[in-house]
Structure formats: structure tokens, C-alpha cells
């Protein structure tokens, strides 16, 4: 076991982890934050997307112990005291999901995409979001939701 101090959504949690525990499993099984979803667990679907120090990454393909002391943001940390994050609100308003399983990954990826400054137009949004698969096929509304936030700002 390795004692690891993860700063998740602003609060520090000390957890004892096996070396091979992915960040995804640490979030879900050790920190009790199940908003981050395990889809393929192979880096192919994007459902496990979180932000580390503000950059979007796949939590299934990285070890939790590698991120000792870094800032991890999950879907649970996005909303503030004032309510939903604009990207969350946009997904609701644009009906940008059906079953919802991919949604937290979609939203985290979209927030990361905007932070990268890559959401210039719908083509760039589609390209930039290609790592997030939606088996329900809600893509048109997902792109609309992200476009609306890109246009009016977060």
C-alpha cells in the first residue's frame, strides 16, 4: 500500500492505494465519487475524463499514485455555490444526452476543450470531442451545448 494524498475538487484526501490502482478506481472505489464513469477502461470511450491541474485526461489510463499532490477535478467538483456550471446547464438546456452514462465525461472533456481554446467552431468542437463516445448518438445536441457555452463564455 502507498499512502497518497489526492486533492480532489479542492479537498485533500489521504488514501492508501495499491500501486496499480488507476485514478479512475481511486475516485470511484476509494473516494466514493462515482460521477466519473468506467466505460471501456481502456482509453477508448472518454467516459472517465477528469481534469488534472486543469487539463483533461483519461483517469482509466493513469495511476492514482502518479498524481499525489496534484489537483483533480471531477464532475462532482464542477458546480459552484451559484448552481450548475455553465457547461452542465447547457447540456440540460440542449438535451445533450439520453442515457447519461457518457455525460460526465462529455462535460469534463468539453470544459477541458474550452480551456484549451480549441472550440472555435462546430467542426473544431467535433474534432476536439472525438475522444468521447456517445452510444445513444446525442452528438448533435452535445455539439450545440458546447457551442452555446463557447459562444457566450463560461
Amino acid at each position: 500500500m502507498i499512502r497518497c494524498s489526492l486533492r480532489i475538487n479542492g479537498s485533500v484526501r489521504a488514501v492508501d492505494l495499491e500501486a496499480e490502482t488507476t485514478l479512475l478506481d481511486a475516485l470511484r472505489e476509494h473516494a466514493g465519487l462515482t460521477g466519473t464513469k468506467k466505460g471501456c477502461d481502456r482509453g477508448q470511450c472518454g467516459a472517465c475524463t477528469v481534469l488534472i491541474d486543469g487539463r483533461r485526461v483519461l483517469s482509466c489510463l493513469t495511476l492514482a499514485v502518479m498524481h499525489d499532490g496534484e489537483d483533480v477535478t471531477t464532475i462532482e467538483g464542477l458546480a459552484g455555490d451559484a448552481g450548475l456550471h455553465p457547461m452542465q446547464q447547457a447540456f440540460v438546456e440542449h438535451d445533450a444526452f439520453q442515457c447519461g452514462f457518457c455525460t460526465s465525461g462529455q462535460i469534463m472533456s468539453a470544459v477541458g476543450l474550452l480551456a484549451e481554446g480549441r472550440a472555435r467552431d462546430t467542426a473544431a468542437i467535433r474534432e476536439g470531442m472525438s475522444g468521447n463516445i456517445c452510444r445513444c448518438g446525442a452528438y448533435p445536441n452535445i455539439v450545440d451545448a458546447i457551442s452555446s457555452v463557447a459562444e457566450y463564455g463560461i
Binding site: R56, V57, L58, C60, L63, M66, G112, E116, G128, S130
Partner: protein, 329 residues
Amino acid sequence: MQPFTYRRVDTVAGTRAALLEDPQARMIAGGTTLLDLVKAGVERPAVVIDINHLPLAAIEVTPERVRIGALARNSDVADDATIAREFPVLAQALAAGASGQLRNMATVGGNLLQRTRCAYFRDNVSRCNKRVPGSGCDARDGINRAHAVLGTSEACIAAHPSDMAVALAALDATIVVRREDGEVRFTFDAFYCLPENSPERETVLEHGDVIVAVEIATAPHQRHSRYLKLRDRASYEFALVSVAAGLGFAEDGTIARSSLALGGLGTVPWRARDAERVLGGAASSPELFRRAADAALAGAVSTPQNAFKVELGKRAIVRVLTTLAERLP
């Protein structure tokens, strides 16, 4: 995942020492290939050495060359203004690879060592000479539509998956490796091993070697370069065929310098020097580009499923060269 020991290192010397303590030790940087393959049971490291805290992420620019640290993330290299200006082919290749999340994780050094996407290598059940030397190759008579047509052997037809490495092949990049107490420098041509009878050996690296940087010399024809990637989906897919090319022109309009490399077609990132010889000193024309493309694929050996790649590759070469010739610098 199978259990392993985790160690964090903060110096290159410490990394070498940790590697040399255990032949089953592996470095982890972005982790996007390694952890995927550990989950699949293909890689079985006893020790995983976290090199993310080594000071190797910088992109250093001098008038003659650019030195990219081995830990520079793919997205940071793709976004770098100097890279975009001096080596557009590299920025385009990086942007065409994987997804936004993976590009934020994957490093330049790790990308060089990316393993093949051959399904028989990855499934841990089939016969695969790369995974279990001497066991045979189920790809040869299996589903091999995406497999290589250049540099193949009886033992292996797996395609090299990287986009970045194809651009680096065209750019004549040098790979800088820490070995023992000094730096060893490999030309790109000398870095990868053809599969021949030992496809498990993919590069000239020895256990304990640490890639520290990639260096690229600036040159006018590298400024005028492009990457074209053809694949089954518009995004987030490996190349069926890709072309990295640069052209430099003499004052009379003939081609003074050219560089051409192919992805998706070779068992290693494939430098098409035969095609460059066709182009050298000649005037641009559709016929010239077609002859260069024919030369590039002259040695292709295909299967019934991947034979389409030969013609697709030629047309991709012609398209990229035509675009470069039409848009003179």
C-alpha cells in the same frame, strides 16, 4: 491490473539505476500505451518507474535546431508556435493522432515507443511472434486489412501505429538517449528495427536506456511540409495510410530537396528514400509525383485484405506532393 511495484524517480541517472535493478522494470510517462497493455496482459512489468518528474519536458529553440524534451506532451508540442512554423508536418501529425485527452497525456518519448495495434498482438491469446517470440503469426492468415505492406517479414506484418514518428522520419530527427554516463544519438533511420526474424525487438534501445530528447534541424523544405492521414473515421482512429512530406525548390522551380515518409504502411515509420531520389532535381508534374509514388511502394507485399493500401498510399503521396507544389512557399 496485475500487481507491480511503483517507484518515482527524479533524475535520469536514478531512472537508469532503477531500470537496471530489474529486467522487468518499465518506465511510465503518459501511461497510455503501457497501462492499456498491462490491463490486456501483454505487458507484465514487475516495477513501474514514474519518470514524469524528470526535467525533460522543455522545447528548446536555437537558430539551427529544435530540441524537444522526451516528456513534452503531444498537445504541447502540437501547439508550440516554433514547431508549427518550422515543422508544420509535425504539428499536423500530432494533432491528427488519438484524442484531446490522450494528446494531453502522451509524451514524445513514449510515442516513439508506442506498440502496434495489431489485434493478435493485443489479445494475449493468439499466436504472435512479437508478444511470444517463435509462437507464430495469426495475423498473416487472419484479419489483416490494417496491417503493413512495407518492411514485413514471415514473422510479422504488424503496422507501426504512430503519426508523430512518421513526421519525425520525414524531418530527419535525431533521438537522444542516455546510456551509461553519456548521451548516444541515433539518426531516425537507425532507431527502429525491421521485424525480420525477431519482431519483439522494435528499436535499438537496450534495457536501461532513457530517451531524453528528440532534435530536429531547421531547413526550408521542412517549413514547407504537410501531413495527410487517411482512416476509416474522420477522427480518433489510426491511419490506414498517412504521408509526411516536405519540398524545397530551387530558383528555377525544380525540386531541390524533398522528404517523404509513410505511416500505416510500414512495420516501422517508413522513410521513402527511393521516392525522394525520383523527385530530386526534377520539375513538379503529375507524372513525376506518380513516378515517385510508384517508387515509394515498389517493394510492397500485400495480402488480399490490405492490397488496397498500395494504391491508396500512392494516391495519398501524389495528393500531398501536388498540394505542396501548388502552394509554393
